[in-house]
């Protein structure tokens, strides 16, 4: 058991070391660093609109939420970019045949890859969130530990992205695999927006007028079954705004993503088991 674990951890370590020197990783790191530098200016406080001073705490919380989502979305993009070429690169550089000619099973290899990519993405996101958290805490003397907690909750989404892109990259060209998973994410966020709009007073009134309430309920089934990436983001960000949990509605996105991860993970292991190693 310990040998199995150490093999997985070793492969994860090699994955991290090899990925950190990829151009896409360095580029994303630079973009994020620039973005945080820009955010730094917003955290000074003292917001004035039409001559009226705004409540710093309220403005900062809105800004924190926006930055939180941007960092999470950027990291999902990064996780997808890193995952899409992992198998191909390993094959081309001879590491796949090198590893699998040792007494290491294919599932250990795949598990190591997933673990490495996920840990790298989570650490990347957590560092960025921590920098924002520290900046805000220092400038405004407002400590929001919920921010870091929310960052950890978002890591569920990264796990989904890594597993899904790895699986799709075995079935289709890398870039298509990446775009497919990003498409799933975009649909999830757009659907969340539409549902939120339909639940507003204006939306309800429009639906009643057009008499399409039954059509909406059909779409809602798809909405609930679709990977709830946006749902997890919303639950996580509700921690920042201290909105609190809403029972099952708060837990459901995690159950949804967990089920998707289990299904996609099982398919990934099964598919890789039947891959020819070159």
């Amino acid at each position: 058991m310990s040998e199995t674990r150490s093999s997985i951890i070793r492969i994860a370590k090699y994955t991290i070391v090899d990925q950190v020197r990829q151009k896409s990783f360095i580029m994303m790191f630079v973009i994020c660093a620039l973005f945080i530098l820009l955010v730094r200016n917003c955290s000074q406080g003292g917001f004035i609109v039409n001559g009226q001073t705004l409540d710093d705490d309220a403005v900062i919380r809105v800004m924190l939420k926006a930055v939180f989502h941007m960092i999470a979305a950027g990291t999902m993009l990064l996780a997808g970019l890193l995952s899409m070429r992992v198998f191909k690169r390993d094959r081309e550089e001879g590491m796949q045949s090198c590893i699998l000619s040792k007494p290491i099973t294919r599932w250990q290899y795949v598990a190591g890859k997933i673990l490495g990519l996920w840990v790298l993405s989570v650490v990347f996101m957590f560092i960025l969130h921590s920098v924002v958290f520290i900046m805000i805490s220092i400038h405004l003397k407002v400590v929001s530990p919920e921010y870091l907690m929310a960052s950890l909750l978002s890591s569920f989404n990264l796990f989904f992205v890594v597993v899904a892109v790895l699986l799709f990259s075995l079935l289709m060209p890398d870039i298509i695999a990446f775009l497919c998973v990003m498409g799933i994410g975009i649909v999830s966020f757009v659907a969340e927006g539409i549902v939120a709009a339909s639940q507003s007073q204006l939306g309800q009134a429009m639906l009643q007028q057009s008499g399409s309430a039954s059509d909406v309920s059909r779409w809602k089934v798809i909405y609930y079954l679709w990977p709830k990436l946006s749902g997890i983001q919303q639950v996580a960000s509700s921690l920042i705004s201290r909105e609190g949990f809403h029972g099952f509605l708060s837990i459901y996105p995690f159950i949804n993503i967990l089920i998707y991860c289990l299904i996609l993970g099982a398919l990934l292991f099964w598919r890789f088991r039947h891959e020819d190693i070159i």
Partner: protein
């Protein structure tokens, strides 16, 4: 004792049979060469032994363990045809990685890597990045990686590919020196003159079918060379 056993192995890609009903075995300590023209199915057999690809029918075992089990690869050193090393790693880092994957302790790994770098004649170049290596140098490090952990079986797929005559001779001398250690060697090669010098037994396959498996001395009777025998058998 049998080190390798192939039992009526067939590998088909669609309707094309890359390996067709092949059976043979290799004894422990034997230096065995698998010969055949390009596309004969030699590399496919090596890949099936490593479980890189599954046979359509039949079974393969190493040290009496089915090749589908990871445990069968416990004491194997493998060197691929056109061996590759990640370009950002140095030869030393590559060997260290391979040693780690074999669960060799850090201090032991360093000792072994140092010895192997000397054996493959790469002293002074081990810390350069692989992207600066020639084809022959990469082959040497591939050979070195295969020797890590003192394997009982070496699976070598065209080990001299890309090497100059001096490199070929050095690899041959290295393989000969391993004979005393009781290692089994399974060699895929086109260089029949080298095989003749190193190996005890050989099998010749063509179009996925096993044509002959015998002692090399028995194959090259009446003043023939192994090349003569090979050409005669392959051309029918």
């Amino acid at each position: 004792m049998l080190m390798i056993k192939l039992n009526t192995v067939t590998k088909k890609y669609g309707s094309f049979a890359a390996v067709n009903n092949v059976s043979f075995s290799v004894e422990t300590g034997e230096y065995f060469a698998l010969l055949g023209p390009n596309g004969a199915g030699k590399t496919t057999i090596v890949k099936m032994l490593l479980d890189f690809t599954q046979p359509t029918s039949g079974s393969l075992s190493i040290n009496s363990i089915p090749s589908t089990q990871a445990a069968s690869r416990t004491a194997i050193g493998y060197m691929a045809e056109n061996h590759r090393i990640p370009p950002h790693l140095s030869g030393w880092q590559y060997l260290q990685r391979c040693a780690e994957l074999l669960n060799i302790s850090r201090s032991d790994a360093t000792d072994q890597c140092r010895r192997i770098v000397r054996q493959i004649g790469m002293e002074g170049r081990e810390n350069s990045k692989a992207r600066t290596y020639s084809r022959g140098m990469i082959q040497r490090f591939g050979m070195g990686a295969a020797l890590l952990g003192n394997p009982k079986l070496l699976l070598l797929d065209e080990p001299t590919s890309g090497l100059d005559p001096i490199g070929i001779r050095e690899i041959r001398q290295l393989l000969e020196s391993l004979k005393d250690q009781g290692m089994t060697i399974f060699l895929n090669s086109h260089l029949l003159s080298e095989v003749e010098k190193i190996c005890d037994n050989a099998a010749i396959i063509n179009q996925g079918k096993l044509l002959v498996k015998d002692n090399i001395a028995a194959l090259i009777k009446n003043g023939d060379t192994l090349e003569d025998v090979f050409v005669r058998l392959v051309k029918g």
